[in-house]
Amino acid sequence: MVPVSYYIVLSAVLFGLGVVAFIFKRNIITMFMAIELMLNAVNLAFVAFSRMLGQLQGQVYVFFVIVVAAAEAAVGLAIIILIARNRESLNVERVDLLKL
């Protein structure tokens, strides 16, 4: 049996790597993927705790997180397409003005 704390540490490491990716990447699509990575790390913690406590609520929350991630991906990618069309660049440092 693998101790639950191993899963929690792995989840923390993945979340931290997601934060690092979000801070360091300049490409807006990659930053968006970093957010997905963080959501995945949280899901792993939910499932691990659900296993530890012997309750299913954690898995239901994971289900909802996945639904929200799907909705977020749809809207976020539409916004990215708009930005790319207007700025002709995917670099976030070129998106520093509200006005075009």
Binding site: P3, F15, G16, I23, K25, L37
Partner: protein
């Protein structure tokens, strides 16, 4: 070392190396493929934890639908290699130490979780009880998520629509 621990180590190494590769790759399509590796590894970990339904959803929805959307957009926009700019040195000199401190703190807290061995309960693992819970206790949130998805679809269509100009 049990088979389960070995599997955990292999899958965890896969997930972490995928995440590191997401950071190191300069081309978004390579980052997307690394993220798919992370998600596949996480699906394996869910199986180890006895959550078969979540593992299946992880593969079908995350690695399938969402990542295909990402790859599709990357190809649609013809995204090239990330260009290097030196606009913000703040990210390098403040962001990196902050990120490292945050990571260490997270691991510190996580390691304090009691090292209790995961117990197996057959009732817990069944998809049937998950469905019962989802459609009884969580019926209202479940219906609300369908409205959320509808709004997201409308938003995406309105945003991505060509300008009438």
């Amino acid at each position: 070392m049990t088979v389960e621990l070995a599997l955990f180590i292999v899958l965890a190494a896969m997930a972490v190396s995928g995440a590191v590769s997401l950071i190191l790759q300069r081309h978004p399509i390579h980052s997307a493929l690394s993220l798919i590796v992370v998600m596949a590894a996480l699906a394996g970990l869910y199986l180890l934890l006895g959550a078969e339904f979540i593992a299946a959803v992880q593969i079908i929805v995350y690695a399938g639908a969402i990542m295909v959307l990402f790859v599709f957009v990357i190809m649609l926009l013809n995204a090239g290699v990330e260009e290097r700019t030196s606009f913000s040195r703040m990210a390098r000199y403040v962001g990196l130490p902050l990120a490292v401190v945050f990571l260490l703190q997270l691991v510190w807290w996580a390691a304090k979780v009691p090292a209790q061995a995961a117990q197996t309960t057959q009732a817990l693992t069944s998809t049937r009880s998950l469905a019962l819970m989802l459609f009884r206790e969580f019926l209202l949130p479940f219906e609300l998520t369908s409205i959320l998805i509808l709004i997201a679809i409308l938003g995406a269509v309105v945003l991505a629509k060509k300008e009438p100009v």
